[in-house]
C-alpha cells in the first residue's frame, strides 16, 4: 500500500491497521485525510486476503475532530467536502471486512463519527468522547443519524450539546463494545481478531446491513430485504461448507 501523509498503514496477516497520523494537529481531519482514507479504502476493499480493518492512532489522542484551521478565506468551507466525508463514512460502515476502532485518549467530533461506523469498538479507560461541532456552530455529519440508534434520542441530544462521555459510560451505552486498560489495548485487539477469525464475512456483512437498515425500513419491505439476504447467504460457499461439515459429522 502506498505512503500517505495523514495516515500510517500497517499490514499484519489478514488485518490492516490505519493509524490517523497528523500528530502536530492531534489527528484533526482535513480534506487530504478524507481523500487518503477514501483511496486506502479502495485498496482494502479490493484486497481479498484482508479480513479486518482496524482504525486507531499512535498518540494519546484518537482524533480532535475537523481541522478548522484547514478552512481559510482562500479555502472556504465547501459542502462537497462534507459530502465526500459522508460517502467515505458510508463505505466504512458497509465495508466487506470486519471493522475495528481502537480509541486511546480524546475522541472528538469526526473521530467520534468514525467510531459509530465500526463493528467492534474498543477503548482504553482513558478515552473520552464528545462532539464539538454544534458548539462550533456546524453539524456533526451523519452522527445526527447514527448516534441516537446507539444511545437513544434523549442521551443523543445531551451528547450533541457537547457533553463529554467517559469510556465507562460509553461502554454502558453501547457506543463502545469493550473498555480495557491502556497497556492491554494490543492484547484486546488480538483477542477480537482471534474470536472473529472464523466469522464468515458473507453472513456478517448481510446481517450488518439489515441491522443498519432496521430503524428506517417498514416491516413489509424489511421482510423482503431479509428474504433476499437470506437466500444469498444460504447459496454462498460459506454456508454450503458448514452444511457439508454437519453432514459428515
Amino acid at each position: 500500500m502506498k505512503n500517505y501523509s495523514t495516515l500510517q498503514i500497517q499490514k499484519e496477516k489478514d488485518a490492516i491497521t490505519i493509524f490517523l497520523h497528523r500528530p502536530e494537529k492531534k489527528n484533526a481531519i482535513n480534506i487530504q485525510m478524507v481523500n487518503e482514507l477514501t483511496e486506502a479504502l479502495d485498496a482494502i476493499e479490493d484486497a481479498s486476503d484482508i479480513k479486518f480493518l482496524i482504525l486507531r492512532s499512535k498518540e494519546n489522542v484518537f482524533c480532535s475532530g475537523l481541522d478548522l484551521h484547514d478552512i481559510t478565506s482562500k479555502n472556504p468551507p465547501d459542502i462537497y467536502g462534507f459530502q465526500k466525508w459522508e460517502k467515505m463514512c458510508h463505505r466504512i460502515e458497509n465495508l466487506n471486512k470486519i471493522t475495528l476502532c481502537c480509541i486511546e485518549g480524546e475522541c472528538i467530533g469526526g473521530g467520534f463519527q468514525l467510531v459509530l461506523l465500526c463493528d467492534i469498538r474498543i477503548a482504553t479507560s482513558k478515552a473520552r468522547f464528545s462532539f464539538n461541532e454544534v458548539r462550533n456552530a456546524f453539524l456533526p455529519g451523519l452522527a445526527t443519524y447514527r448516534l441516537a440508534k446507539y444511545v437513544g434520542l434523549g442521551k443523543a441530544k445531551q451528547i450533541m450539546m457537547g457533553e463529554v462521555v467517559e469510556a465507562q459510560e460509553a461502554f454502558h451505552y453501547g457506543i463502545i463494545s469493550q473498555v480495557c486498560e491502556v497497556e492491554k489495548i494490543d492484547q484486546a485487539i488480538r483477542k477480537n481478531l482471534e474470536d472473529n477469525a472464523s466469522l464468515p464475512l458473507s453472513s456478517w456483512t448481510l446481517a450488518r446491513r439489515l441491522m443498519n437498515e432496521c430503524y428506517s425500513t417498514p416491516y413489509e419491505n424489511f421482510l423482503g430485504h431479509f428474504l433476499a439476504a437470506q437466500h444469498r447467504a444460504i447459496n454462498l460457499e460459506d454456508f454450503q461448507k458448514i452444511i457439508k461439515k454437519y453432514q459428515s459429522m
Binding site: 446491513r209 413489509e220 430485504h225 428474504l227 433476499a228 437466500h231 444469498r232 447459496n235
Partner: protein
Amino acid sequence: MNTINKNRIQDFLYPENGPRIVSIGTANPGTRYSQEEIVKIYHETNPVIVGLFQNSHIKYRHLILPEPVDGIMQEETQEQLIRKHRQGAEEFGAKAITECLSLVNLTPRDIDFLCCVSSTGFLCPGITARLIKKMNFRENVHRIDILGMGCNAGLNAINPVVSFARCNPGKNALMVCTEICSAAYVYNKSINTAVVNSLFGDGVAAVLVRQDNCDTWKRGPIVQDFESHIIVESIEAMKFELEQNKLSFFLDRDIPYVIGMNIEKPVSRLLKRNNLKLRHIKHWLVHSGGKKVLDAIEYNLGLTDYDVRHTLHILQNFGNLSSGSFLFSYKELCKEQIIEEGDLGVAITMGPGTTIETALLVW
C-alpha cells in the same frame, strides 16, 4: 469543467465518442387505475388475489381496459386483444416517437433505422411497418421488429441499434418499445393470472441513438458495452402459456431468487472487462420487474433502495412496463439533473430465457 478529471477512474478507457442515447419520449396508454379500482372493477373477492393487488409496491398502472357493461367487466376475445395491441402500439408508439424526436428537432423523415420491440402481441406486418405508414417515415428506412423476447428485450434490441449507429456516424436510429400488457391480460380468477394481472402495466418508450461529434455527455450517455447471461435451466420459469386459447404470461415464484443468484455474473464480467469496480458505477437503471426481484438484485450486488430509486418509482406508479421499463427509469434519472460528465451507469433488464442483459453507459 474539471468534473471529468475529478471523477476520472484510472484504469477505465473513456471513449472519445460513440453511439449516444440522445433523446427519450414515453407514452402511457389507456387509463390510469389504482390497484383498488381494478379490484373493484373486476368484483374480485378472493382474499389471496385481493392481497396481490394490495401490495404496497405498486399503486397505479396504465391499462387499456374495456368499458364494463352494467357494471360487469366483459371478457375480451383473442381478436379484440390483438386489435387492442395493434391500435395501442400505433397510437402510443406515435406519441412516444413524437415526444422523442421533437426534443432533438427531428421528424420521422430524418430516421434511418427503426427498431420496434414488443412481446405483448404478434403482428404481421410488424409495428415498424405500421408506424412508418402512420408517421410518414422515409420509404428507405431500415427496420427490424423484435418480438416475443420479453422484459429483457429493450437491451437485446438496443444492441443492434447501437451497432448501426456506430457503423453509420451521423445517422439516426430510433428504438421503440411498445408494450400493451393489457392485451395479454387473461382474467380467469386463477392465482397465476392474478399475479401477472396485478403487476404489468402499459407503456411505450422511444429513444434516439446516434453517433455524432456534435453531441456531448449533456445530450446523453454513450452505450459503451453489453454483457448477456442466460440461465437455460430456468427456461420454463417465465413464459407465455395458453389460458382459454389466449396467451397469458406465467411467472414462476422462484424467479426473483434465480435472478438474484445470477446477477453478479454478467455485471462483474461487464465491469471487469472495462477495468471497473461496482463502486465506480453511479447510476443503476434496472427493469421494474417487481419488488422481490429488485430486493434480490440489491442484496446480491450490494445496491440500496436509493441506487434503484428510479425503478422503485416506476414500479410504484406504472408497474412492470416490460421491455421499455428501464428507459422509463432512465427518464426519471434525467429529470433529477444530477448527472455529471464522466459518470458511469449500468442498465439491467431481466426476462424469459431466463435471461439477464446488462449495458455500460458513459456520460
